[in-house]
């Protein structure tokens, strides 16, 4: 499954214009603790979080994550968007809370790791 399909199916709003969404998503990881993501997410995962500050981009970039979905209609900081574009990390937002969003990702066939 690629990021474009996920975006379309879940009606996500893309906050990083111009980034290619045609990238394979290997699974998903949910956490608001950055060290948890560093230690336990896998390369190519989509990361679901409510953190919106720019350090999430560094984590996603270092881990080689496919992208970040911000839940509960949380708006990323302006500098987070700028950094995400520079580091080629797609940022998307959803108005769904985490539980519902992840439920839908699972229903789409996305699995952990």
């Amino acid at each position: 499954m690629n990021l474009q399909e996920i975006m379309t199916n879940l009606s996500l709003e893309v906050k990083t214009p111009g980034l290619n969404l045609d990238r394979e998503v290997t699974g998903g990881y949910v956490s608001d603790l950055l060290s948890d993501v560093m230690g336990n997410a896998s390369q190519g995962n989509i990361w679901i979080t409510l953190q919106i500050h720019l350090n999430i981009v560094a984590v996603a970039s270092l881990k080689g994550l496919a992208g970040i979905i911000l839940v509960n209609n949380r708006r990323p900081d302006e500098d987070t968007i700028t950094r995400a574009v520079a580091e080629n990390i797609p940022l998307m937002t959803s108005d769904l809370p985490t539980f519902e969003l992840v439920g839908r990702l699972y229903a789409l066939g996305l699995r952990c790791r």
Binding site: S31, G39, A58, L62
Partner: protein, 148 residues
């Protein structure tokens, strides 16, 4: 040992804007060198956690790296408050981070354990009121092959 590469990055306490930049640069050096993905991944985890500790807790610090044909070694030295009890600091879930740091998703008490798990050798020395030095090494080739 004919292919040694060394470098240093300077870190500024509370500079969350550039947090992670040193680890990203180190990752770039390893990628350029053609280091295997799994080793890059482990190095990036350990470097990022150590870098964030300097940003969160210290006034300033530096990250030095040395890459040889057999290993990657990284030393992170800071001018900070020091760690009173290293054993306690190594306990998963233990953290002295203030609330605003925790709200950012840092300070979960997983940093030092993550470094230990990701590396082949890891040591911390700390002096109260002076700072902390953390060193880790990741082997590029298994130790038994190195000895052979």
């Amino acid at each position: 040992m004919n292919n040694v590469e060394e470098g240093v990055f300077f870190l500024t306490g509370k500079d969350f804007t550039n947090a992670g930049a040193a680890s990203s640069s180190l990752k770039g050096v390893l990628e350029k060198r053609g280091v295997p993905q799994d080793i890059i991944r482990r190095t990036a985890i350990a470097a990022f956690e150590a870098e964030m500790n300097v940003i969160i807790y210290a006034v300033a610090g530096m990250m030095k790296y040395r890459i040889t044909d057999t290993e990657i070694s990284v030393t992170i030295q800071d001018m900070g408050q020091g760690i009173p009890n290293i054993e306690l600091a190594m306990t998963e879930g233990y953290s002295t981070a203030p609330d605003y740091i925790r709200e950012m998703g840092f300070g979960s008490g997983m940093g030092l354990p993550n470094i230990k798990k990701s590396t082949d050798y890891f040591v911390i020395n700390s002096m109260i009121g002076e700072g902390t030095t953390l060193e880790f090494t990741i082997h590029l080739i298994p130790c038994d092959k190195e000895r052979a």
